[in-house]
Amino acid sequence: MKTEDLRKWLPLGTLVVLVLVVGIVQPSFLQPATLLGLAGDTAVLFVLATGVTFVIMLGGIDLSIQSMASLASVVVALTVARLGYGAALLAIAIGALAGLASGIVHVRLKIPSFIATLAMGGILFSAALVISKERSITLDESGRAYQSWITGQSFGWPNVVIVGLIVLAIAHILQAHTRFGRYSAAIGAGEPAAYASGVKVGKQKIFAFALSAGFAAFAGVILAGRLASGSPTLAAELLLPSIAAVVVGGTAITGGVGSIWRTLVGALIISVVRIGMTFLGVNIFAQNIVFGAVLIGAVAITIDRTKIPIVK
C-alpha cells in the first residue's frame, strides 16, 4: 500500500521540487508575474493533454490531436474576418466532428485507436495544408481584436489562465462527477465487466474521441490567438509533450486510473522542465529528447510491470 501512496503523490512532489530548484537557480522565477506567465504558457498544452486524457482513461489513444490543433488555428485565421467569434466555434465544431469520425471508425470498424487516429491525424494535417495553401496566415488588426478573450487580462489575471481554469473545472466535473467519467474508468480498467453491466461501451468511446478532438481544436484556437496566426504546423511538436504530460501526471497509459488534476500537474511539470531547460541553455530543438526520456521514465515508474507479462 505504501508504494501505491508514493506513486499517487510522486508527480505533485516532483512538481514542487522542480519549481524550487528552478527558483533557487533563478529567484525571479518565483515572482507571481513569472508564475502567472508560466500558467499562461501551459494553457495550450494543458487543454490538449486534458482532451487526450479522456481517451487514455478508457484505454485508447488519440494521435491526431496536434494536427487537429493546427487545423483549428488555420480555420480561425481564415474565417475570423467573416465570422468573428464564430470562427472559434466553427473550429471547435470541426474538431468534435473529426473526433466523432475517429471514434466511429475505432468502434464500428473495430480498428485500434492508434491506427484510426494516426490516419485521422494525416487527413487533418493535409486538410490544413490544402486550405491554408501551405502558408502561415497572420491575423490582421481586426482579426486580432477578436482574440482579446485569450490575450487580454481580467482582474489582473491573464485571460488565458482564466480560460484554462474554466477548462479544468469543466473537464474535472466530466471526469469525476458524471456517468461518462465513471464509465470511462470502468471501461479502461475492465471493459468486459463494464459491457456485462450494461454500459454502452461504444457510445462512451465515441464521445471520448469527440471530446479529445474538440479540446484539441480549442487548444488550436488558443494557440492561434496567442500567436496571432494560423498555420498547418502551428501545433506540431505538441503531441509528445501532451501525452508525456498525461502520463507524468500519473494517469495510467493502459487506462482505468487517472484524473484531470493529474494531467494539470503533468502539464505544469512539462512546462517547468521546459523553462528550466531554457535557463540552462538547452537548445530548444533538443527539448523533445528530454520529453521522450521523461515519458519513458514516467511509464516505467507508474506501471507495476510485475503484473504484466506481455506488453504489445
Partner: protein
C-alpha cells in the same frame, strides 16, 4: 504396482493454498513406468492444480516430488521439460500461424542453428520423425491452423515426445482433457497411440469422461476437495462406482438449505418459446417464475452455456421467441438485458463480473448509475449510502467501500457482483457457475443468499459446475444434450432426483 522404486514420478503429501482456497491437501500419488494413470474429480477438486505442480507452473507449499525415486524440485515449465515431463494442454497451445515443424520445435530451435541461421531442412526432417512416432502422416511444413482439431492434438503429443531427445530419464506426459472436443473415431486413434507409446512414456490422463478413463487407464485416482479420496485399478471399477466416489458425500439436505426452498410464485417472469441460437441449441421452451430456481444440466457442448449467454444478452437468439415479463424481447447486448431487469453472474467474475481496479462502491453502482444521477452529476453522498447499505446487507467483508475489488476474497467479490445486480433492481439472475473457485464456506454463504433472494421473488437460471449443486438448489431442472432439452424434472425439497437418473439424459 506402487512399489516406490518403480514409480516414474511420485508426489508425497503435496499441499497448495491460494487466497481463500485450500487447493491441495496432502496429495500423494505414484505414476508407474509405462503406466496410464487416470485422474478424475469434479471442477475444483484440485486436478488442474496438481497438473500445474507436476509441470512446474506452480510450486507446492509443502510436500515432496520424487522423480525415479529421487527427491527433486520442478522449477518451471522448462525445467519440467528437462526432467522429461511434458504436457498436452486442454486449450491447445499450438500457434495457428506457424507450421507444424515450427510449433514442434518452438523455443528449441537452437539444435538446428548453423552459423546463426536455422537449418529448416534439418528441422522439418526431425519434425517428420516426431510425427512418425504418433503415426500422423502430414507434411510438417503445413500451418497448424489447416489441421483438424484431432490432428492438432496429435501434433501436441508429437511435440511432447521431443522430450525423449534431450532428457535422459523416462518420460511422463500429462494429458489434460485431451478428448473433450474429439469425435469418437479420433478418440480411438488417440488412445491407440497412447497405448503404443507406453513403452516410452507414462501418462497421466485427466478427463471428465469416466467411460474413457476406464477404457484407457490402468489405474485411477479420484480427487475431491483437494484430496485423493480413492485409488483403484480400472479392472475393478465401473462408471457408477467412479461417479459415486467423485461426488463423494451422499446428499445432505441442509448443505443447499433445502428446508428454505419455498414454492415459487405463479407469475411468469421469463418465457422461452421454441428458442434457437444457430447451431448451439434448438427449440428450447420453458417458463421461469418469480422466486423459482431453474437449473440447466448438461455436459460441455450441450448448448446450456450458450442458452445462459442468450438470456444475459451476450449471444442473441436466432429463432423462436423470448418474452420477459410478458413482452417479447431480443437481447442483442447485455445493456438490453440489464434494461429488462436481467443480471448475469458470470463464471469468470474477475473478467466479466467485476472491474477489479474500481472500488467496491463503484462496482456496486455500476449497473444503475442513472438512478444516482441528478442534473448529469452522480450524487456521491447517495452512492456512498447505497454502497454501505449493500455491504452490510450482504455481509461483504471489505476494509471500506473505497477498497479496490482486486483485494477482496473470491466469495466477497461474488457478493459484490450480486449486490450490483440487486442494486440495479434485477428481477432475474443468470448464474453461470456461481460458486466456481469458492471454498466450502463461501459456497454456503452464496447458497444461503440465493435462498433468501428467491424467497423475496428473485428468479434464477442456474448453470453449475456440478450436477449435485444444480439438483440441490433448483426447483426445476432441465437436462440438455446436443442443443436440445432431453428431460425435465421437478426437484422439490425432500424429493430431489438422483444424479444417476439425470446423467442418462446428458450423455
Amino acid at each position: 504396482m506402487s512399489a516406490r522404486q518403480e514409480a516414474a514420478i511420485s508426489t508425497v503429501r503435496i499441499a497448495k493454498r491460494f487466497p481463500g482456497v485450500h487447493a491441495l491437501k496432502d496429495v500423494s500419488i505414484d505414476i508407474g513406468r509405462g503406466e496410464v494413470v487416470g485422474l478424475i474429480g469434479e471442477n475444483g477438486a484440485g486436478k488442474s492444480t496438481l497438473m500445474k505442480i507436476l509441470s512446474g507452473v506452480y510450486q507446492p507449499d509443502s510436500g515432496r516430488i520424487l522423480i525415479a525415486g529421487k527427491e527433486t524440485r520442478i522449477e518451471s515449465a522448462a525445467d519440467a521439460n528437462r526432467k522429461g515431463i511434458g504436457m498436452v494442454f486442454q486449450e491447445q497451445s499450438l500457434l495457428g500461424n506457424l507450421t507444424i515443424g515450427e510449433n514442434i520445435y518452438l523455443g528449441a530451435e537452437r539444435q538446428f542453428v548453423r552459423m546463426g541461421l536455422v537449418d529448416w531442412r534439418a528441422l522439418y526432417a526431425a519434425a517428420a520423425r516426431q510425427l512418425d512416432k504418433v503415426s500422423v502422416n502430414v507434411d510438417p511444413r503445413m500451418r497448424t491452423d489447416e489441421l483438424s482439431f484431432a490432428a492438432r492434438q496429435m501434433v501436441e503429443l508429437a511435440k511432447a515426445l521431443t522430450l525423449e531427445d534431450h532428457s535422459a530419464g523416462h518420460l511422463v506426459i500429462l494429458l489434460d482433457e485431451p478428448t473433450s472436443v474429439l469425435e469418437r473415431a479420433e478418440i480411438d486413434v488417440l488412445f491407440s497411440r497412447v497405448r503404443a507409446l507406453k513403452s516410452r512414456a507414462s501418462f497421466v490422463f485427466v478427463s471428465h469422461r469416466l467411460d474413457e478413463v476406464l477404457q484407457l487407464a490402468d489405474r485411477v485416482y479420484v480427487m475431491k476437495d483437494g484430496e485423493v479420496v480413492a485409488e483403484l485399478a480400472t479392472a475393478d471399477a465401473d462408471v457408477a462406482t467412479l461417479h459415486r466416489l467423485m461426488v463423494g458425500r451422499t446428499l445432505q439436505a441442509d448443505y443447499y438449505y433445502e428446508p428454505l426452498q419455498r414454492p415459487f410464485q405463479d407469475r411468469v417472469v421469463l418465457e422461452a418459446d421454441r428458442l434457437s441460437c444457430g447451431k448451439a441449441y434448438r427449440n428450447v421452451s420453458f417458463k421461469l417464475h418469480a422466486g423459482e430456481i431453474l437449473g440447466i444440466a448438461g455436459v460441455i457442448g450441450s448448448g446450456r452455456e450458450t442458452l445462459a449467454r442468450t438470456l444475459a444478452g451476450f449471444s442473441p437468439h436466432t429463432a423462436g421467441a423470448l418474452r420477459v415479463a410478458g413482452r417479447e424481447a431480443l437481447l442483442a447486448t447485455p445493456a438490453d438485458a440489464v434494461e429488462r431487469g436481467i443480471g448475469c453472474i458470470p463464471r469468470d467474475r474477475r473478467v466479466e463480473g467485476l472491474v477489479l481496479f474500481l472500488s467496491v462502491s463503484a462496482n456496486i453502482t455500476l449497473a444503475a448509475l442513472a438512478e444516482l444521477t441528478r442534473f448529469g452529476l452522480i450524487d456521491s453522498g447517495k452512492e456512498r449510502d447505497l454502497a454501505e447499505a449493500w455491504v452490510s446487507r450482504l455481509k461483504i467483508r471489505t476494509p471500506s467501500i473505497r477498497t479496490l475489488c482486486l483485494s477482496l476474497s473470491g466469495g466477497n467479490q461474488q457478493k459484490v457482483v450480486l449486490a450490483k445486480w440487486l442494486n440495479a433492481n434485477a428481477r432475474i439472475l443468470v448464474l453461470d457457475h456461481p460458486t466456481r473457485g469458492l471454498d466450502v464456506g463461501a459456497k454456503e454463504e452464496v447458497y444461503q443468499l440465493i435462498r433468501r433472494l428467491t424467497g423475496e421473488g428473485l428468479a434464477i437460471v442456474l448453470t453449475s459446475d456440478t450436477l449435485e449443486e444444480t439438483i440441490g438448489l433448483s426447483h426445476n431442472v432441465l437436462v440438455m444434450r446436443d442443443g436440445e432439452i432431453t428431460h425435465r424434472t421437478e426437484a422439490a425439497p425432500g424429493a430431489k432426483p438422483r444424479q444417476i437418473d439425470l446423467i442418462k439424459y446428458m450423455v
